[in-house]
Amino acid sequence: MLLKDKYFEVKHEEHLNANEAVYLCRLKTDCDVYRGHFPGKPVSPGVCNIEMIRECAEMLTGQDLRIDTIKQCRLTAVASPSICPEVDVRVTVARIEGTDQYNIIATIADAERSYMELKGLLVIC
């Protein structure tokens, strides 16, 4: 995984059922991405949060997954390790019968606000 233990760490995970889990993730302040995004003003890149969702979906399914389609991904608030040191990544997947694909719905939020809502299609590598 590209960003697990580099950009984020999983502090706790709660499996609600076989297809749904919540990962409490700590955003690491020392990730190298903040050198460039942006110099002197660390902001968590939205695309890193998309990748964090993919990696949580891989942990949930135990499969290597690619992003085939993002139907919609709304970035609803600016995130950073100081704004939201820990976030809940909630992932729900549904295997599409007869295919190697999963529908995914995911959110990133803390007690204060929501940062991301994503709907898409993942495919097993």
Binding site: L2, P39, V47, E51, I67, D68, I70
Partner: protein, 139 residues
């Protein structure tokens, strides 16, 4: 060629290690053509030497950001800082490999309350790599 490599830094605030566009070939009206030659120093390069999908999304977003920076520079306005507000109908057809040169067409749509609609399409040679719609929020 309008801008290449570090000349792009005049147009957008992103810096190493997450600079994901290295050329603006041309810009006319609402459309620009940008590029990125994938290297192992790019963000989102996986163990198999291919770029993961979020890298393509960031490449398209930075292409739009750099294009808007170019337009601001021409107009004598301060450099805008753009954030992705929404990604819609993103589709990845293949992950490019280190050494591939990507060419991207970005088309800016209407701007309403600081939010610009855009479409982006990335190719490697003639092969479609990814396409998407986005809303870019400019600060």
């Amino acid at each position: 060629m309008l801008y290449m490599d570090e000349q792009i830094f005049k147009l957008m605030p992103q810096r190493d290690p997450i600079v994901m566009v290295d050329a603006i070939y041309d810009a006319e009206g609402d459309t620009a053509h940008t590029g990125l030659t994938v290297t192992e120093r790019n963000y989102f390069i996986e163990e198999d030497g291919r770029m993961a999908e979020p890298g393509l999304i960031e490449h398209i977003a930075q292409s739009a950001s750099a294009f808007k920076g170019h337009l601001a520079l021409l107009a004598g306005q301060p450099l805008p800082i753009g954030y992705i507000g929404e990604v819609k109908k993103f589709h990845c057809y293949l992950r490019p490999a280190v050494g591939d040169t990507l060419t991207t067409t970005v088309t800016l749509g209407a701007e309403v309350n600081g939010v610009t609609l855009m479409t982006g399409e990335t190719r490697c040679g003639d092969t479609l790599v990814a396409d998407t719609q986005m809303k870019i929020f400019v600060e």
